[in-house]
Symmetry: C2
Subunit: 377 residues, 2 copies
C-alpha cells in the first residue's frame, strides 16, 4: 500500500510517452523515489504541464537522453498499438508496456507489425493499472493514484520472464497489486467485472430520463447504488466498449438470454393459467443466481467475500456527527469494514450503515447505545 | 425525522393485523407515544413475541377491544387483499390501510369484493412504507424503522379526504415522509426505481457464477455498487415481481430494446465496415442517456440532485482511523454530504471517498493535508 523505492530502483531508467493523468501520475510516483523519468507527448502544453508538476524531464533524443530500460505508453487506447510499435523500433533494448484498458487487440497489432518489421515483439508487455479519477490531464495527476489498486500485467506467449518482471516491479513500485494474466483473460475479465456492469448501470439509469418526477423522487439507496457508475464519460466508454466488443458481446448475450426468461415469466403471470407457478419459480431462480454470483465478489483486502454484520445508525445532519460516531466506534476498539451513508428524502437526517465482523456486532451496538446513538437497524 | 406524538394522538385507536417486522415496528412506535394498539396474528407465537417486545396488547374481540379508528394490515402481500376485506367487514367505522409493496392489484380486489358484499370500499387506503431490514419477524422490529423513509399513501378514486389523512398522520407519527400518489402511479414508480434495478443487479451478478476466480478477483467498487442489492431474498422478490408484472414488463421491454441496440452496435464493430462510426455513436448515446438519467436521482434531503465535489483519502486499516478522519473534518467545520469506503484488493488499506459541497472542497483538502492525511484524489 505504499510506494516501494526498492522496486522502483530495479525498474531502471524510464520513458513515459503520453503525459495525461496516468502518464504524469506514473512519472510523479517514480520521480518521488529518485527514478529518472523522460517525458514525451505530442502536445507541448501537456508535456510542459507534466514537467512543471514534477513528473520528469522532457525527452530530447535517444543520444542526449541516454539508454532507457522501460518505455510506458500512456496514449489514448485507439493509438496505443502504433505508439508501442514506434517505441519498440526506437528503443531497441527496452521493455515497452502500456496502460490501455483493453489488451488483446493491442497485443495482436503489435505482434503483426513486429513480424512485418522484423523486430522482437517479446519486448512488449501489456499492462492495465485499474485506477483512474473523474478529472483527467496532467494537473489531476497524483503520485499515489495506483496505491492499493490491481495492475494487470499481460506477458505475451513468447515473452522472456524478465520483461514481465520489469512491469511487475513498476506496478509494485507505485504501490499497486500486480496481477498476471493473458491478454484474452484480461479482456474477458474486464468485460465481466467492468464493461457489462457499466452498460447495465447505464441502461437502468436511462429509464429515468422520461420518468415522472414523483416516481424518481421515490429513488432510494438501492437505485443509487445500481446506477452510480452510470455517471461516466460517454465518448471514453464508446472507445472502451468498441475495443472489447467480442468479450462484451459474449457476456451481454448471456445476460439477454436471462432477461428474456424474466420477460417470458412476467408475461405468463399476466394470464390466468397453470404457468403461474413455473413463472414464479423462474423469477426466484434469477434472483437466487444473482445472490450466489454476488457472494463471489471478494471482500476487503482481496480475501474471499466475508459476510459482515451491519448496524444502521441515525445521524443528525450537523458537522461533526460522523466524527463523534467514529470516535465512539474507535473507543470501543472496533474496526469498521464497510461504511456508507444513506440519505432520507425530505428529512434532515442521514442513516449510516456500518459493517463489522459478525463477532463484534453486538458489542458495537451496546457501545453505541451507551453513547446515546440511535441504532435503528 | 422524529416520532410525532401530536400526529400519533390524531390517529386514534389502532388495530395491527400481522405482527411481523412491519406490524410490530408500527406497534412499537405508536405505543411509545401512548397510542392504544391492538395486535392480531394467526400465529400465536408471533403475536406473543410482538406483545412481549411492547408493540401492543393482543386483540380479544370487537366487544372487549372497543372501537378502532384505524386497522393496519401487515400481512404477506399475497393475502393482503382478503385480510383487508375481512377487516372492512369486521370494523364498520374504521379506516383500513396496508403495507404491501405493490398496490393496484390489492385495490382492485378490495373494490370488487366490496361491491359484491355491499360494503363501503372507500374506507380502504393503500399504503407502502418504503422501509425494511435484512432480518424479519417481530424480534427484528424497531420503533424507528420508518424514520426518514418515504411512506406512499394511495387514496382510491372515491375516497373521502379524511381517510387518506388518517394514514398520512400514521406515517408522520412514525417519522416517515408521507407521499400521496395513485396505486397505478405507485406501481409504475416502484417498477422503475426498485423492481427493475433489482432485476438488473441480479442479472449482472448472475454472470459471476461461472466466471474464473482471477476475473472475479478484479472486481472493484463499480461492480460492488451495481450488484449490492442482488443480495436479496429470492422467494420474496418472486412474489413482488409477480404482483407487479405489468409495470415491470413495460420498463423491462424498454431496457431490452436499448440492450438490443447495444448488441447490434457491438456486432457491427466486429466487421470491418463503414458501420463502425455509427456503432460507436450508438454506444456513446446509451452511456450519455444513462448519465442524464442518473442526474435525475434526488440527492440528500429529497432536494434535486446536487453534484458534490469529492475527495479520496487513504485510510490505514486500523481502529480509530475513521474517527480521526471525521474529527479532523468536523474541526474544519465542514459537513460531509456523502461518504463511502472502498477496499483495495490484497492491500491493508481503505480509500475513503468524501463528498462535500463544491464550495468547500478545496478548504477541506487543505485542512486534511495540514493534518497529515493522504489525499489521493
Amino acid at each position: 500500500m505504499t510506494l516501494d523505492p526498492a522496486a522502483a530502483a530495479a525498474v531502471g531508467r524510464v520513458r513515459v510517452v503520453g503525459t495525461g493523468l496516468l502518464g504524469t501520475s506514473i512519472g510523479l510516483g517514480l520521480r518521488s523515489m529518485g527514478v529518472t523519468v523522460l517525458l514525451h507527448d505530442p502536445s507541448p502544453t501537456s508535456l510542459a504541464l507534466s514537467r512543471d508538476v514534477g513528473a520528469g524531464q522532457p525527452a530530447v533524443n535517444a543520444e542526449v537522453d541516454g539508454p532507457v530500460d522501460l518505455v510506458i505508453v500512456c496514449a489514448p487506447p485507439d493509438v496505443t498499438a502504433e505508439v508501442v510499435i514506434a517505441e519498440l523500433v526506437a528503443y531497441e533494448g527496452a521493455t515497452v508496456t502500456d496502460v490501455a484498458s483493453v489488451k488483446a487487440g493491442i497485443a495482436d497489432q503489435v505482434a503483426q507489425a513486429a513480424d512485418a518489421l522484423g523486430i522482437d515483439a517479446s519486448r512488449y508487455v501489456g499492462g492495465h493499472p485499474m485506477a483512474g479519477r473523474e478529472r483527467s490531464g496532467p494537473v489531476a495527476a497524483r503520485a499515489d493514484l495506483f496505491l492499493g489498486r490491481p495492475w494487470v500485467v499481460c506477458p505475451g506467449e513468447s515473452m522472456r520472464p524478465g520483461r514481465a518482471e520489469t512491469v511487475r516491479r513498476l506496478a509494485a513500485a507505485l504501490g499497486a497489486t500486480p496481477v498476471l494474466m493473458s491478454a484474452r483473460e484480461h479482456d474477458e475479465a474486464v468485460a465481466l467485472v467492468s464493461h457489462v456492469p457499466q452498460l447495465a448501470a447505464s441502461l437502468v439509469a436511462a429509464r429515468l430520463l422520461k420518468a415522472p418526477d414523483p416516481a424518481v423522487a421515490l429513488a432510494g439507496p438501492g437505485l443509487r447504488d445500481v446506477t452510480r457508475i452510470a455517471n461516466s464519460d460517454a465518448m471514453l466508454w464508446a472507445q472502451i466498449l468498441s475495443a472489447n466488443a467480442a468479450p462484451v458481446l459474449t457476456v451481454l448475450r448471456e445476460l439477454k438470454a436471462d432477461l428474456e426468461g424474466v420477460l417470458t415469466a412476467l408475461d405468463a403471470l399476466g394470464e390466468a393459467s397453470p404457468e403461474h407457478l413455473g413463472a414464479r419459480a423462474a423469477l426466484a431462480r434469477v434472483v437466487a443466481e444473482g445472490q450466489a454470483g454476488r457472494e463471489r465478489i471478494p471482500g476487503k483486502h482481496g480475501s474471499p467475500h466475508t459476510s459482515y454484520a451491519t448496524l444502521i445508525v441515525l445521524l443528525p445532519d450537523r458537522p461533526g456527527q460522523l466524527g463523534r460516531l467514529f470516535n465512539d466506534i474507535g473507543e470501543a476498539g472496533i474496526n469498521v469494514e464497510e461504511f456508507s451513508l444513506e440519505h432520507s428524502p425530505g428529512q434532515p437526517v442521514g442513516l449510516a450503515e456500518i459493517s463489522v465482523l459478525p463477532a463484534v456486532r453486538d458489542s458495537l451496538e451496546s457501545a453505541l447505545i451507551a453513547r446515546e446513538w440511535h441504532v435503528v437497524g
